[in-house]
């Protein structure tokens, strides 16, 4: 059970959170302008790195805020969290 540091509530049990997949995949500005291939890339393609990954979490059983976390997918270590709109910090 990870202890995930909600940027608002502080460290809470993983079970209080929902996972939201890769961070910084913005909804396209003008979907109609995209080719089917570009749109499919937005819909279906995500990175799957071994190592530090910027991903989204929602503190769904707590403050209900979405935020971003830098998690090492190999060690489960969370290197930092940041609120929506804040720039991605440099992983330590």
């Amino acid at each position: 059970m990870l202890l995930i540091p909600c940027p608002w509530c502080g460290p809470r049990e993983e079970a209080e959170f929902h996972y939201g997949g890769q961070a910084h995949v913005a909804y396209p500005e003008d979907p109609a302008a995209l080719s089917d291939e570009e749109w499919a890339r937005y819909l279906f393609f995500r990175d799957n790195p071994k190592g530090v990954f910027a991903e989204r979490w929602s503190h769904s059983a707590g403050c209900r805020r979405w935020f971003n976390a830098l998690r090492d997918t190999a060690t489960n270590q969370i290197h930092g969290v940041y609120r929506v709109g804040e720039p991605r910090p440099v992983a330590s």
């Binding site: 608002w8 509530c9 809470r12 079970a15 209080e16 059983a61 707590g62 403050c63 209900r64």
Partner: protein
Amino acid sequence: MAERRSPAAAYAGRFEAASRGEALRLAELPFLTQIDVRVDPSSPAAGDIGDALGVPLPVEPGTAVRAGSGADEVTVAWLGPDEWLVVAPEGHRLELLRKGLGDRHGSIVDVSAQRTTLLVAGPRARDLLAHGCALDLHPSVFGPGACAQTTLARAQVVLIPREDGFLVLVRSSFAAYLAEWLLDAAAEYVA
């Protein structure tokens, strides 16, 4: 005509029985006023809502303030960076808060019947809650002035520690489940 009914009304007797010893006091505090307040904490509207409540909205995450007394008593719990839960005796005037907000951006929603309030008190209250709550309930960490939205057993709750015990605010549909769970966990302390 039937009377209105609170979600844990059927448990009054068993709560009372579990409260006969020294260890625990369990009760439903029915029909409290609960208001969900959404507003930008840095806006003038937030200040005006605080004035209407008689206490500023707490901006520190995980904190709650309690002010006033008697019919004017309010507890304001931080639920999120722009969300608070006001808990007050029955009949607290929602309109005052609406007036405080005025036509500025924000929302004041009556959620009095959305959750009911269970009181978990007595010397073993923390031990009882620790059976189902993963938060550190140590008084140095989670004493009066704190609050948390978290899970107790398998139900989401708002937990507000006070001098006289914990307020456990639970969704009405989960009230019976949580009451059964509390009574089952209490067996260890009340036998």
